[in-house]
């Protein structure tokens, strides 16, 4: 049984005069998260990735669909019980802290709320242990105010704070995008370690290269719908959706150069279309795509794509890649 099961999740936000227009931020999204897995949810701004995170954290109420945790609808949990198991960290470490509280107080609050019976000395010991486990020196952190610390340090403290509760699921929403390159991989490394210790992580990001580096599974979102999902290696090395391919082509990398002459400017238009949501930006679209809403279809084991043209057979490059990987692991 999976730890978290998202079933046909939908969230609409009212827009316009008296909210008569509805914006579907999340549109019929389903996925499962198993224990000790790291899944990345990747999409551009406005794709609904943060909304999904907030829905799972119960910060928003879904318009439709269900989220199941441990076999029960998350609505049926008491907040305290739920948050002991499911925790979130967000993009901006600076705004996640109360500037007038010392760092110690941030940890104390967690104890007061969830483990009030714990003795003072025991608390202190746990705080220090957890700070060391995220690579920090407690004596340099405790007693300081948030403004005396850097973004990378604050983000580590937030991770440490969540770890005090030993939650089963962690929602990490763009936690590295405000950090410097030199600290990003270290923060990601903690997520990887936590996963290996049995925690499940939903890693929300717009950065494909870091998603690829860290996650077991990947979900590609566009305008609230899943375009492609499955095993990270399959999605990245055998992308079947034109959107995934476009994203992968535009990832800046030190290994390949963009074709700067070939001009293409994306424009996000919030317009209801009856067919495929990616129709307007798709270079491979046909008239059929305008009419038909593509369904997620499994094209190989643990790899699903929502594109009516994806039934073409698995590409040969990918077959070669996969067989070379297999022989590598055997050798």
């Amino acid at each position: 049984m999976s730890l978290i099961e998202v079933k046909n999740l939908t969230k609409e936000f009212p827009l316009g005069f008296l909210g008569r227009i509805k914006l579907k931020a999340v549109d019929n999204v389903s996925f499962e998260l198993d224990e000790s897995k790291l899944i990345s949810v990747i999409g551009e701004s406005g794709s609904g990735k943060t909304t999904i995170g907030k829905l799972i954290l119960r910060l928003l109420k879904p318009t439709g669909g269900q989220i199941i945790f441990n076999g029960k609808d998350i609505k049926s949990f008491k907040p305290k019980d739920y948050y002991r198991n499911v925790q979130g960290i967000f993009q901006d470490p600076y705004s996640s802290f109360n500037p007038v509280y010392k760092i110690d107080r941030i940890f104390e609050l967690v104890f007061d709320e969830f483990m009030p019976q714990l003795h003072r000395n025991q608390r202190q010991k746990e705080i220090e242990e957890i700070l060391i486990s995220v690579g920090m020196n407690p004596s340099q952190i405790l007693g300081k105010y948030p403004h005396q610390l850097s973004g990378g340090q604050l983000q580590r403290i937030l991770i440490a704070r969540t770890l005090l509760l030993k939650p089963k699921v962690l929602i990490a929403d763009e936690i590295i995008s405000m950090l410097d390159a030199s600290t990003r991989v270290d923060i990601l490394g903690f997520l990887g370690e936590l996963k290996q210790k049995g925690m499940s992580v939903i890693f929300i990001t717009h950065d494909l290269s870091f998603g690829y580096y860290i996650s077991d599974e990947t979900i590609i979102l566009y305008k609230g719908s899943i375009m492609e999902m499955g095993d990270t290696i399959k999605v990245f090395h055998n992308p079947m959706h034109p959107y995934t391919r476009m994203l992968l082509e535009s990832v800046p990398s030190i290994e390949k150069k963009w074709d700067l002459e070939k001009f293409f400017v994306p424009e996000i238009v919030h317009k209801e279309i009856s067919g495929c949501k990616f129709y307007e930006r798709c270079s491979e679209a046909t008239d059929e795509c305008k009419r038909q809403v593509p369904q997620l279809v499994e094209i190989e084991e643990n790899h699903r794509v929502a594109c009516i043209k994806s039934d073409v057979s698995v590409r040969t490059e990918w077959k070669n890649f996969e067989s070379s990987r297999k022989s590598d692991s055997v050798g």
Partner: protein, 324 residues
């Protein structure tokens, strides 16, 4: 005519605060040549944005503390305000980091452009054809001219600023973190637009300031790596990526994710520790505290060594005859 568009020599720009001077740009040397894209990269707080902004406008608490930035035989740093107004936009221009907030909300885009042109003795009506062409490059309709900034999305505003900043065909354009707030697909589009502006000679050279080395790899011919207010290394882009010299550059490159490298198989490593406080920097190399190669000499400030036309500020690269 010399090929050097901008020559910066021992430039010092500090922020004056109650606690003393924050040495954001401390003794920086570099050149930008004609038709070149120079990437300026580094961690937050390394002084890269301060450097870009100081060349355009020395706004308090930013203070000039010495050195020079020569453009057309004039030192931009000591140019009287009135003269600098003539140089700005025409010789040297900037696309600021928060381009989305750079437009006056009470004026139509047309009026903002008109103001700028008037300042330089030109008229928008006579330039409408050019404006139209430029808007096409950044994929905006002509109708934006009659719109107010609030009517445009963040990305559109940034592209309007790109047009305004380059309206007078500057010899040097400073692009300050213009891709940082964008999605991957828009990042690519913005870089393509800049590239096209350069190809069509709308802008001469570009100083592309960003923390994202992967973006710089796409467009820059040379990259300057800054660390804690100083230049760590200046090298051609391919060299920075494939054969970095400075330990800091090496560690930065090693921390970038690559295709085929996944956490489950290979663990990448960041750089432990933090940059020094620019308010109170001790003597010696500023990277010393985080550098795995640090040795006795590093307690002295390293000069910029010249290695096959590349520049690197690290004692490892001293040669026999060098004075220490």
């Amino acid at each position: 005519m010399s090929d050097v568009v901008l020559k910066v020599k021992s430039l010092k720009v500090y922020y004056s605060t109650l606690h003393g001077n924050v040495k954001a740009v401390d003794d920086v040397d570099f050149e930008i040549v004609r038709k070149e894209v120079l990437g300026i990269a580094g961690e937050s707080g390394c002084g890269k944005s301060t450097l870009g902004n100081a060349l355009i406008l020395l706004k308090p608490p930013m203070r000039y503390h010495g050195g020079e930035a020569i453009m057309d035989e004039k030192n931009l740093m000591t140019l009287p305000k009135k003269e600098m107004r003539k140089v700005r936009y025409r010789k040297i221009s900037i696309i600021p980091q928060y381009a989305m907030d750079a437009l006056n909300p009470t004026k139509k885009i047309r009026e903002i452009m008109q103001d700028l042109l008037k300042e330089h003795g030109e008229n928008l009506e006579k330039k409408l054809d050019i404006v139209d062409e430029r808007l096409q490059i950044v994929n905006l309709p002509k109708a934006v001219l009659n719109m107010y900034p609030v009517e445009l999305s963040g990305g559109m505003k940034q592209r309007v600023v790109m047009v305004i900043s380059t309206l007078l065909n500057p010899d040097l354009l400073i692009a300050d973190e213009i891709t940082s707030a964008l999605d991957v697909s828009s990042q690519k589009a913005v870089v393509q637009m800049l590239h096209r502006m350069k190809e069509e000679r709308i802008v001469g050279s570009i100083a592309f300031v960003t923390h994202d080395l992967a973006v710089l790899y796409q467009i820059a011919q040379r990259i300057m790596i800054m660390y804690a207010g100083k230049v760590a290394e200046i090298s051609p882009t391919e060299k920075i990526v494939n054969q970095p010299l400075h330990p800091y550059t090496k560690m930065l490159m090693a921390s970038l994710p690559k295709m085929g490298v996944r956490y489950n198989e290979i663990k990448l490593k960041g750089i432990s520790g933090y940059p020094p406080n620019l308010l109170n920097i001790g003597p010696g190399c500023r990277f010393m505290g985080r550098c795995p190669f640090a040795f006795e000499l590093c307690t002295k400030d390293p000069p910029l060594f010249d290695i096959d036309g590349r520049k690197v500020a690290c004692w490892i690269y001293r040669s026999e005859g060098d004075e220490i």
